[in-house]
Symmetry: C2
Subunit: 429 residues, 2 copies
């Protein structure tokens, strides 16, 4: 196949007519498909239905350390749930607090608390003239929404296969005391599916921030979301808490995770992991905010999964559902777009997303054309701070929710829209 | 029985010896009882066990408007849960947001948001030199902890059987723009068990606060927690949202409630009710903080209770467990203390607490002596802002958690400690 960038104007015009006709046919089908969000599909959710039987009216709802999960008490989670998450993140139980139904809520609250109370005695950020966060991008739109909501200035940091541009991060945090944090999805990153290299993690752990209240927001959302059963096809991430501690930076990182895409999205349990000092500080705030999170749901999770072996066995069933979808998207994009020089995409080994880069200036129109033909994608730009992709090139593909059949249709339409918009773009239209 | 205040020194001294001997006997028993917090007892929690069967692995977890409760989505609660709470609070569904496992968390977050973002466009409270809250007291310690945590200055407002001193509140809010809120437990108040009179509610609804961002924090925690089955023995509270609207103050109130003491404490669902304008503002913040609360637990609640008739039938079973406990405390206190002129107490018709007023200066020592003999009470002072009861007189009794037998022992010991400390006090010791 000849590269589109090497076609003559006449060839492009002929192609455009052909593609527009095809697009018209798709439009006529009245599709209604959604690849916008990283939502588990029904088949995945069905895997966890047994959890609803894990506690019932005949159960004794007493946690292993004697707490009645039906009553008040236990700020930081029942012991067995702490152990499950500690195992998942490869940290100690003293480093974790088990929270409510979403890690996003914890991240939001961590920033809200820093705004009103500062961090370990620092000036409350709300009292400072400027507060900045580093935002490796493309990244997770909901991270950026939180920082934007609190008026925190966002600085885009480029991503590579090994993680964010560490030269830039090292330089900026050492120079600028107003930089208080960095958003990271270190494993199977959203949306590219990259896993930070050991070197990147070590450089994070060795940062010398000018601000003592600088924190790494380590959103390890996809730490167990592999696509492949074979261990050698699974990414590995270096554990950051111990790396930070080794470098005298024990307090520099907050890690987050949840079972949102393990059990039920929105009805799972979540965790924050951090140094003993940070945990004490967080609990001091939590004791004002809540009497404790839902312990029955914590117990339900532990009784269903038993332990990390149980969780991983469960995740392999997820992998079997997700893998064909990712592979199908890759297959279609390869068949339709390879060699055309109008787009590139990632093929992650885990996580929930594939990242697509179109020709500069084309992303918004591609997404709009998909929508017009009945396929909703994540808004173009969403993967960058303030929703503004400087190249208007990046598009996030979320293959999880549609059925395999729907996914084929949606991806074929997407590839067609990429071609169509690229041809128009090359024709200067 | 002669009043202690009329006894001679010699009579008091003889009494002291006798009481100290009795106290020594209690101490020797090595009691371990707890009347500190408003925790439901096991028998009450057992009432809700059927809820754990309300959804199981064979259930279709689709809400009535089509949402799959197992997946992401629905910021403000599933329709059937909204309807249940709207019925409970006698408001419209458009006025409610169903939240997570505790209304305390909502209240905290409302104040946190006001600190960082202001209220409907007002200056963020964190940017103001002074922010004040009115605190009817005795009141709920966790309310006061929240305002203290955010550095909000607390002004104590005296309570009466009809509610807070409205002359004082009307005057203060009209004069002082830095007064941004007032904490209320309007029905079966914590700890006195008073229900605000219609006149009090109407005066609240007619307030003319100088601060446009002034809000009434209406914590209707005990709205359905009657002790008696007979309707004529149940308190009635005027619905405040409509009263505020009638007076052109639609946005002036946030109302809170939950099922914490209806289903499971810590594993219930909660609600905030407010004007359509406030609800829109809250949702704007929530959309950044969360993808939505636990819908499966919302569904579980609705499928178990069915509707408000189901909830009220359930609450009558609670009443049957709670009523004898309240009556037992009252009986013992009457038997032991009536006519002695060393203390008075409330006998509420609902809620979770009995409020006891000792002689001025005696509360701390009474609570300490109870503790020394193995009965934990709420810290004296906790019912006032900053944990400081200016009269050191008020003690909160929480009869719900102990069994009836334990409660008898605990209350008898308490009455003994009241006598003992009062006698010492009258002797000037």
């Amino acid at each position: 196949m000849k590269k589109y960038t090497e076609l003559t104007k006449a060839e492009l015009s002929a192609l455009l007519t052909e593609l527009e006709e095809l697009y018209g046919e798709y439009k006529a089908r009245g599709l209604k498909l959604n690849m916008a969000r990283g939502k588990p599909c029904n088949e995945q959710l069905d895997l966890a239905m047994g959890m609803l039987d894990a506690v019932d009216s005949s159960s004794v709802l007493t946690a292993e350390d004697g707490w009645d999960c039906r009553n008040y008490g236990v700020l930081d989670g029942i012991s067995e749930a702490k152990r499950l998450f500690a195992d998942m993140l490869d940290v100690h139980t003293e480093n974790v607090i088990v929270c409510g139904n979403a890690s996003l809520n914890i991240m939001h609250d961590m920033i809200a608390r820093s705004m009103t109370h500062g961090v370990m005695g620092s000036t409350p950020w709300a009292k400072l003239d400027r507060v900045k966060f580093l935002c490796p991008a493309p990244g997770y739109d909901r991270h950026f929404k939180i920082t934007e909501h609190f008026g925190i200035e966002m600085i885009t940091v480029p991503m590579s296969e090994n993680g964010p541009d560490m030269d830039m991060i090292e330089h900026l945090v050492a120079e600028d005391e107003s930089i208080k944090g960095v958003w990271c999805v270190p494993m199977y990153s959203n949306p590219q599916g990259y896993t930070y290299s050991d070197d990147t993690v070590r450089r994070f752990a060795r940062l010398k921030p000018k601000a003592p209240d600088f924190r790494i927001y380590w959103d390890n959302a996809y730490c167990i979301h592999h696509l492949y059963r074979e261990e050698k096809k699974q990414d590995k991430l270096l554990e950051i808490l111990s790396e930070c501690q080794l470098n005298g930076n024990a307090d520099m990182v907050y890690e987050f995770a949840s079972t949102s895409k393990v059990s039920f999205a929105g009805a799972g349990i979540s965790v924050v992991a951090a140094s003993v000092g940070n945990i004490a500080e967080i609990k001091k705030h939590m004791t004002v905010q809540t009497i404790g999170h839902d312990k029955i749901n914590q117990l339900r999770h532990v009784r269903f999964f038993k332990d990390m072996d149980g969780v991983m066995a469960h995740m392999m069933k997820h992998a079997d559902i997700m893998r064909p979808k990712f592979e199908e998207v890759d297959k279609i994009l390869t068949r339709e777009l390879e060699g055309l020089d109008i787009g590139s995409w990632t093929m992650p080994r885990g996580g929930y997303f594939i990242s697509f880069d179109a020709l500069d200036g084309c992303a918004k129109e591609i997404v709009a054309m998909c929508k017009d033909a009945g396929v909703v994608m994540t808004d173009a730009g969403a993967t960058f701070p303030y929703g503004k992709d400087p190249h208007n090139a990046n598009i996030r593909i979320a293959p999880s929710y549609p059925s395999l059949n729907e996914l084929v249709t949606a991806t074929e339409l997407f590839a067609l829209c990429v071609k169509l918009v690229s041809v128009k773009h090359l024709l200067g239209k």
